[in-house]
Subunit: 289 residues, 2 copies
């Protein structure tokens, strides 16, 4: 059997890198992390150390580990030049694939949480003529990047339970220095929880790719944010733009998908499964799909 897995988040990427090069890794994760992320990280052989969910609690645990293991390197999830540059390679690969087809992106849009991916993308695309945009959930002020750009100042704290759980964090310091530069970033747009769910449903059902809510935020902006669409119309007219959409990542579970899309109406769900006829009758004889 050949399995092509995409692992996703920082913890799992680090665990995989450490395993590949036989380097011991201690990975601090909040105990509230999605169980599939914890399981994925442990299965890659890393020593997972749990912390509370606040940054103070996390940093205390990190500090203890660093005292215990002199010479150990700290690799933060986004606020570090190497992480930013590494995450920018996705845009470089994207550009290269399009060059091979003899075309070029007018714009590229990524999710924005801490700003590793967006900062890296903006750095990679700087000077190429490809416009770079960020995208955020709007729920409970999760659009700290968008609000920061408006206020001209980085928003330092965010407290939100948006379904886009990878984007609940505020933008990092170094990340902010990149994305607040109008020569590098053209804008940040935000979407509602319902718009994220609509984009997620579309990707799962039509592209057949499993994505977490955070990954669907850029597509939701492109499809449903009226300000974004109006801006493209004004700038590009009828021709429009070729927009590159970066999806990241796929850390979800069937139970989490079920929670997001469960309908209280039993009948609807049975119909979706093909167990009920449109007239509500049960299936008598069955036919191939």
């Amino acid at each position: 059997m050949y399995v092509n897995g995409r692992l996703g988040n920082h913890a799992q990427a680090l665990a995989l890198a450490a395993k590949t090069f036989s380097i011991p890794a201690h990975i601090v994760m909040p105990s509230i992390s999605t169980p599939s992320k914890i399981a994925g990280t442990k299965s890659l052989g890393a020593n997972v150390v749990f912390s509370g969910s606040t940054s103070v609690e996390r940093e205390a645990v990190v500090s203890d580990i660093m005292k215990e293991h002199p010479g150990i390197h700290l690799i933060p999830p986004y606020d570090h030049p190497h992480i930013i540059l590494g995450q920018g390679t996705a845009a470089l690969e994207f550009e290269k694939q399009l060059q091979e087809r003899g075309t070029k992106l007018d714009a590229i849009i990524t999710p924005l949480g801490g700003g590793g991916l967006l900062g890296g993308t903006a750095t990679a695309m700087y000077g190429t003529g490809t416009r770079v945009f960020g995208s955020e959930p709007r729920f409970e002020g999760a659009n700290d990047g968008e609000r920061g750009l408006k206020g001209g100042k980085r928003v330092e704290r965010v407290s939100t339970l948006t379904i886009a759980d990878g984007l609940r964090t505020p933008v990092g310091v170094l990340n902010w220095s990149i994305i607040s530069d109008p020569n590098k970033l053209k804008g940040i747009y935000s979407v509602t929880e319902e718009q994220i769910k609509r984009a997620m449903k579309l990707v799962i059902e039509r592209m057949k790719i499993v994505v977490e809510p955070s990954a669907c935020v850029p597509l939701a902006v492109v499809l449903y944010n009226e300000d974004f669409r109006r801006m493209v119309e004004q700038e590009a007219g009828e021709a429009g733009w070729d927009v590159g959409v970066i999806f990241s990542g796929g850390n979800t579970t069937v139970e989490a998908i079920a929670k997001l899309f469960a309908t209280p109406d039993e009948t609807k769900a049975e119909r979706a499964e093909g167990k009920l006829g449109l007239d509500g009758s049960r299936v008598a004889e069955n036919v191939p799909g």
Copy 2:
């Protein structure tokens, strides 16, 4: 935006072929079909005509259409040489991809409903040394192929509400003539509903590919059917086999996934989403995943 979609079933494949070659297509679908299949077929420009769910009702509608449009061709979903040969090309592509890597399949396993895919695979692999297996759901006698091989006679009727809704149909006549030939097919194995769900959860969460329950039946056999596993052990010993698993298809909806995997325990689902700490406390400040 670049979207790579896999459409899946017969109705949508026909609609796409008809659209590609500008041929008018009338597609008869039971009104109880999954809404996403109906929507997908219509969006490809085909004229969708609804029928009842029994074969008698379907054939009556088909017969009316054929009278209305003299010269029209009937393309049945599985019991036809062209359909069988067409579906066998998946195995040929699989074989070719492995040849390019300098390796070869010891065995290949596909889902079995009407027998288009399995009949085609068995025909394509005949004489190559690659063993061919079929796989079925067992629920409410859906394993008509397995039962037919045991009884030495095709089972003509099946009435089951297995979650593998693409495999609820009995094996076709021409299809049976192929898969009942021990020189072409090595065996058919079946799995429980729970085993199908376990395989589906694994594919969605680790391979990040959206699959319908029917698509997961072969993998469920390979992973969970003790008779299959014992047989491989006896034949191959420690070395085992390289088994090619064909997944087909991805016609599902987020609502259908929700129905399959919803947990009655609200707490569990919230935890899976990361909204609750392992200790049951709500998330206070949020950190990146």
